[in-house]
Amino acid sequence: MTKLSRDEVAQQIAEAIPDGAFVNLGIGAPTLVANHLPETLEIILHTENGMLGMGAAPEEDQVDPDLINAGKQAVTERDGAAYFHQADSFGMMRGGHLDVCVLGAFQVSENGDLANWSTGARGAIPAVGGAMDLAIGAKEVYVMTDLLTKNNESKLVVACSYPLTGVACVSRVYTEYAVFDVTSEGFAVTKLFGDNTIELLNSLTGLALIDATTPAGLDERKGR
């Protein structure tokens, strides 16, 4: 059984992002993807609080409280950057202009429903932020998540039990075991990491997964 580290999963996602893509990396683990984007490519990062062309974290003495990402961390500005207000920024997302958005998840259902903003726990303070906009706000919505919860329950499910963030919005799920595409027939495994098998994933998720791995895919993996 092979389990990639979060950084390795982030690397997998980074490799799927083409040169010139406009990308939003959600708060949390998805921000790790930025560390793996090749220097040789120009991939333009959007942050929904109002910027395109976001750069890496600044040196400590260059922290600018007016220049932050959606996670409220200090960032920098690349040449070619642009600032805009919130209606323009979310219009950009809602209008489907971003190529890729990478989000965390509590659950993803077979038809691509995403639950990632609330566990529905009584008494919890709700907060949604830009989650629902991000869920519907890109041509491709990738989820980056552990396959299982801490209680070993599958986050890939037939139907989400947690409150939805978006309906039929997820296109692909990257986990530490494998990559899953959302298809009209359910989850299709497109890439198995290491010695993992479809049978193992069927067992871990309790789902009937489609085997969409290909020899070409295997070669590609080996070549990396």
Binding site: G50, Q62, E77, Y83, H85, G129, G130
Partner: protein
């Protein structure tokens, strides 16, 4: 002659009535008009409805307004943050009402409020808990939910520079909600680092045109700026870093 510049933050927030709806700019701490909020606390209006992306950070600014129990209801997208203990406490005590709105719908509702749109169909939130009880409609095969404009009696925002007509420019991601809130309130008030002569703001680069502003007030320049240039040496909360190791003159490098 038009001169929207007032001489104090007290004057800038004068007249906020009891029970007013007040928009407050900012995303987290960036663009939060802390001096205006402090003046609003001193001014004393209560029973307020606040429209803001967050529900306060730490114990200052919006958090202090909440802590002073001046706020009946808050309309926001992301109240729960690592340092939102003031809101968290009031919410658990049922001492504040919360209307939770997805951030993009919040922004678009504020824009609609400023631009005379009666309502709009948005895909964001459609089919979720936050669309419960709202009118939904399928248009061209996609599900939308009908959302209504938000307007306010006052908008308190933070900008970088203003002229006496009220034209504004902002700084980096501190722009966030400023321009749309300025357009959606009856009385829009900006605190700025600098008031410049009329004509000094490039007409191609004006972000908030003068028509939206009613009052402008200069506040002390933010700690990480010096004469409008970034000098840094603060932490993400804007507090000075390594005071002791400064080299004397504020030597900026950006």
């Amino acid at each position: 002659m038009i001169d929207k510049v007032v001489s104090s933050v007290e004057e800038a927030v004068a007249g906020v009535p009891q029970g007013a709806t007040v928009m407050i700019g900012g995303f987290g701490r960036a663009g939060q008009p802390v001096e205006l909020i402090d003046a609003l606390i001193a001014q004393g209006a209560s029973d307020l409805t606040i429209v803001s992306n967050n529900a306060g950070n730490g114990d200052v600014g919006l958090a202090a307004l909440l802590s002073a129990r001046r706020v009946r209801k808050i309309v926001c997208s992301f109240p729960r943050q690592s340092d939102s203990w003031v809101f968290d406490r009031l919410y658990r005590e049922s001492a504040i009402e919360l209307e939770l709105v997805p951030q993009g719908n919040l922004a678009e509702r504020i824009r609609a409020g400023g631009t005379g749109i009666g309502a709009f169909f948005t895909p964001t939130g459609a089919g979720t808990l936050l669309a419960d009880g709202k009118e939904a409609r399928e248009i061209d095969g996609r599900l939308y939910v009908l959302e209504y404009p938000i307007q306010a009696d006052f908008a308190l925002i933070s900008a970088h520079k203003a002229d006496r007509w009220g034209n504004l420019v902002y700084r980096k991601t501190a722009r966030n909600f400023g321009p749309i809130m300025a357009a959606a309130a009856t009385t829009s008030v900006a605190q700025v680092d600098e008031v410049v002569p009329l004509g000094a703001i490039d007409s191609e680069g004006v972000v908030t045109p003068s028509i939206f502003m009613q009052r402008v007030v200069k506040v002390p320049e933010r700690q990480w700026l010096h004469d409008g240039k970034f000098v840094g040496r603060v932490d993400i909360e804007g507090q000075p870093r390594e005071r002791a190791t400064g080299t004397g003159a504020p030597g900026g490098s950006q």
